[in-house]
Symmetry: C2
Subunit: 213 residues, 2 copies
Amino acid sequence: MAIPRAAKTQRRTRIQEEKEEQILEAALDVFSARGFRGSTIDQIAEVAGMSKPNLLYYFRTKEAMHRALIDRVLYTWLEPLRAFDADGDPESEICNYIRRKLEMARDFPRESRLFANEVLQGAPHIEDELKGPLKELVDEKAEVIRTWAKAGKIAECDPYHLIFSIWSTTQHYADFDVQVRAVLGQEHAGAGRFEDAGRFLEQLFTSGLVRPA
Amino acid sequence: MAIPRAAKTQRRTRIQEEKEEQILEAALDVFSARGFRGSTIDQIAEVAGMSKPNLLYYFRTKEAMHRALIDRVLYTWLEPLRAFDADGDPESEICNYIRRKLEMARDFPRESRLFANEVLQGAPHIEDELKGPLKELVDEKAEVIRTWAKAGKIAECDPYHLIFSIWSTTQHYADFDVQVRAVLGQEHAGAGRFEDAGRFLEQLFTSGLVRPA
DNA sequence: AGATAATTTGACCGATTGGTAAACATTACA
DNA sequence: TGTAATGTTTACCAATCGGTCAAATTATCT
């Protein structure tokens, strides 16, 4: 008889790791493209290349799959902000953050859309993560920015809204990719649009916020 | 026998206008909160306060409702960009645009989320609108901005990405409202957050892009 | 190899989905 | 007021939903 899933934390088979990997990869595909409610287990099963009951053998419910996916992706997703260094040079720290966030929008658009879908629909499954770990991290980094401003290293500004504006501008290129490409048209919607965006955003944020020496 | 719906364009009863209004209002509620696929006709019917078949008497399908809603909201939604005046003062035109977009994020968050949901999931129902009317409008306004830059009235920058950054930063406060409130916490998430955001964004965009006299 | 545990599948379940048919009720207008 | 058009509801449909179950298959270990 199959082991109850609670016991699986003890030892994990090679098959378990592979299959759970496969499933979460497929789940990322589907959830990020259609949102939680708009996705079906059958769709994920098809993308993962396995039968629905087989998929439900590894994750008992649709919600369990979603939660596992969120947990796996959230840490990575916050990495750029975590790397924000209080001892670094303010201007280059901000530029680095923008650049890294933009790279993530380019290289991991599904992860971005996964969260966007979730937050957009009221964050029913990640409210705790937002009010807990996320808020704490942002509070910490906002304090760093405030310190920089107090020291005259950057312009006085609301650090929270600064962070929001970096999030929104960069993630826009992942979440609203279809719109960006439609507006830019075939000529300018090529791979170069991320470089263009990077140049613009660096210009926007540095000359706006960082005082010239 | 009931008139086939195609003939309804000819004359519209008072009841028709009222009910269609009711339905679209309810549809905006539901679609904006759950996305197209995540919404059900029953939910919309319940919010609208009528039975499902009654609702389907006015809109034959779920898609017809969605399309009618998009059509009705799109024009209004683009109004602020349309008001962008080539003959105005660049700095105040940009500030006005930001302010109006922010007001819309505050006063019409459902409309913002409706489009966000749609675009986020690949814009299956509004691709034509994006590549047609939207692109044309943005092309026109981008040309205005370029002219300003050429005339030395504002800094040289990519006009398309400037527009994108205004869209993303302002709409962020509607689309990601839950996240914004979670991060700001109860103390700072009050009604004042839109004023704070407005101040920050004006600072960001003007001192970054508009050359001092 | 054989026993045991782990994995996979097809058949199936009740609930919900988008949508229909037709009877019924109401309105508008002559 | 009568009647035809309009509006509303009840009952229903096939398809799909998330999820279960037991049987069949495969991997693991002695």
